[in-house]
């Protein structure tokens, strides 16, 4: 990864809206490096500044301070039509007065490419997104998924260095969204173009991305691969935003941590009070009295189909959720009040910085 050149770099970006006391910092000192050919995702709750960052990369807005670099060149103040960067808009923003083919060819035409090249390129794009029969339709005659593909083809046709996608799938229903996720991944691999993808859906981010930047309230909380972010969340926000997790607190002596129920678990953490987290699937529910298991009893069970969540009550007032595969057909679900033992998978308990 270290040898791959950087496509987009955001350097200490601050973006404030409004003046003086009422100013909101939509982005507060954000720095991100996106590699060439990467599927990079900006993930965070609504209002955390994802769209704002995308608009700065596209050139629709300029940062209050900081720089945007593209392949090493400072493009902070370049207008959008001078940047080899294209956007897939959340609302698609297809031109209603043009046909599908004219929409796809728009960028190339504005660049003044020869007619033959435009025609050929449009045909290639139509094939890529499997919309050849629709070439001469008006965009209003297409379904949501088809419009989505036209928007993609239109943005890809001028072969930009970077493609920006602002929650492109959020308007689609679940089934279509799953199909488009696969389609997007395929398009990215076939074209080799750097994708910067925005979503507030953590599952979508985990399944599609090479790397993810988790954002909240104008700050980048963590950047890493989906596995990094899921298994080693940097802080409480990331741990709770990505997937489900349990939070505990403990007392550390540097080499081991003591929980409220008196259990002592070996792990290295700064001395003093520490915040800990463990994923529900890292808990093992075993018969009471099993070697090393902490005593607990089942407070309630919640059935999710493949999985069942067991809400467990430990000594010292610890409440914790364990995820288990649902029992095979005919098997009995665990009853409320059943006494059990709980084991933590090795290395699964993490100390969080706050």
């Amino acid at each position: 990864m270290t040898t791959i050149p950087t496509a987009v770099e955001a350097k200490s970006i601050v973006k404030a809206f409004g003046q003086g006391a009422v100013a909101i910092k939509a982005l507060d000192n954000v720095s991100i490096e996106i590699k060439q050919g990467e599927f990079f995702t900006l993930l965070g709750p609504s209002g955390c500044g994802k769209t704002t960052l995308l608009r700065l990369i596209a050139g629709f807005d300029t940062p209050t301070s900081g720089k945007i670099l593209l392949n090493g060149d400072d493009i902070t103040h370049l207008p959008p039509n001078k940047r080899p960067v294209n956007t897939v808009f959340q609302s698609y923003a297809l031109f209603p007065h043009l046909t599908v083919a004219e929409n796809i060819g728009f960028g190339l035409q504005m660049q003044g490419r020869p007619k033959a090249e435009v025609t050929e390129s449009v045909a290639r794009m139509l094939a890529l997104v499997q919309l050849e029969p629709m070439a001469n339709r008006k965009t209003s005659q297409l379904s949501g998924g088809q419009q989505q593909r036209v928007a993609l083809a239109r943005a890809l046709a001028p072969t930009p260095k970077v493609l920006l996608l602002d929650e492109p799938l959020s308007a689609l229903d679940l089934k279509l969204r799953k199909e488009m996720q696969i389609e997007l991944k395929r398009l990215q691999q076939e074209t080799g173009i750097t994708f910067v993808f925005v979503t507030h859906d953590q599952e979508e981010a985990l399944t599609m991305s090479d790397r993810i930047a988790v954002m909240s309230a104008g700050h980048v909380q963590q950047i890493g691969t989906p596995r990094d972010i899921y298994t080693r969340p940097a802080n409480r926000f990331v741990a709770s935003f990505i997937g489900e997790t349990n939070f505990l607190s403990g007392q550390s002596d540097g080499t081991s941590v003591t929980l409220a129920n008196g259990a002592r678990l070996p792990m290295s953490a700064p001395q003093g009070r520490v915040n800990l987290t463990i994923r529900p699937e890292q808990l093992r529910v075993v018969p009471l009295g099993t070697e090393g298991a902490m005593p607990a009893h089942v407070a309630s069970t919640v059935y999710f189909g493949t999985d069942t969540h067991l809400h467990l009550h430990l000594e010292g007032g610890i409440d914790i959720v364990a995820r288990q595969q649902s029992p095979a057909q005919g098997g009995e679900a665990m009853k409320e009040g059943t006494p059990v033992g709980v084991l933590f998978a090795e290395g699964a308990l993490l100390a969080l910085e706050d």
Binding site: P79, P80, N81, V85, F89, S91, F95, P96, M110, Q111
Partner: protein, 268 residues
């Protein structure tokens, strides 16, 4: 449907009132059209069908001159008014509310609010001094006066069209390498075109129909169709006036129907 909305149509006597209103509105117009085909001299006594009055009007040099002037003035004035209105609409819509916005709307729409007779007198005095100073007595006084009061009529449909337009489309055009001018030429203009055409047609009809301002501003021998007809009324009325009115009516209805169809398409 226990809680139905107040429906005026269910009030007693509604049918009678509505019917009376329609009769009062349309009966005179229908009569006018019918008597334009009268064979006799009267606009009140039917003497058989003929197209004589159309032929007479067609051969009348004064009518020809007035028609020609009416069309020239309406075409030129509506073209000017539409251009001004287009620029005004582009300048006043598609942006955050700004200081003085209401004042600008009021100013653009001034001709809709100031009594026409006041504007007419003001223009008469204003143009009179220019006539004295320059000696020019051509049609341009009428064209400029018409253009001025047609602006708000052209402005309203264009503004409505622009306000319904998605600004992201222009952002998208810029993203796809279009310069400001290309964005206007290939995205903004085609999308606002139905509004512009509708505005131009409305302005054309309004200009064609004007009496008060024209009567005040025109120099000798500059009658338009409406002022010519007004002049005729002062003498003996013949079905020739009916014939001219019928043609004007047909033209106006055709233009307004087209206007209606164009603006209705906006909603889609």
């Amino acid at each position: 449907m226990a809680n139905r909305a107040f429906e005026v149509a269910r009030l007693p006597g509604f049918r009678t009132i509505a019917l009376t209103a329609f009769v009062l509105l349309y009966l005179p117009i229908i009569t006018l059209v019918i008597y334009s085909f009268n064979a006799g001299q009267s606009v009140a006594v039917w003497e058989g069908f003929s197209l004589d009055w159309y032929a007479k009007a067609w051969e009348n040099e004064a009518v020809k001159g007035a028609t020609y002037r009416s069309l020239i003035i309406a075409a030129t004035a509506s073209a000017i008014a539409t251009t001004v209105a287009t620029m005004a609409a582009l300048g006043t819509t598609r942006r955050k509310a700004f200081k003085g916005q209401t004042a600008i709307y009021v100013m653009i729409n001034q001709p809709l609010m100031v009594p026409e007779i006041v504007t007419a007198v003001a223009l008469l005095i204003f143009f009179a001094s220019i006539k004295v100073a320059t000696g020019y007595t051509g049609l341009w006084y009428l064209i400029i006066a018409h253009a001025a009061f047609c602006v708000p009529f052209a402005y309203l449909p264009i503004r409505a069209r622009l306000e319904g337009m998605d600004l992201t489309l222009e952002t998208a055009a810029g993203d796809l390498y279009a310069s400001h001018w290309q964005t206007f030429r290939y995205v903004t203009l085609p999308l606002m075109l139905p509004g512009i055409i509708a505005g131009a047609m409305l302005a054309f009809v309004i200009s064609l129909d004007d009496v008060v301002i024209t009567e005040f501003v025109k120099s000798g021998g500059q009658d338009t169709l409406p002022t010519y007809m007004l002049g005729q009324m002062r003498r003996a009325i013949t079905p020739e006036v009916n014939a001219i009115s019928t043609v004007l009516l047909a033209l106006t209805v055709a233009l307004l129907t087209a206007f209606f169809l164009l603006t209705r398409k906006n909603d889609k």
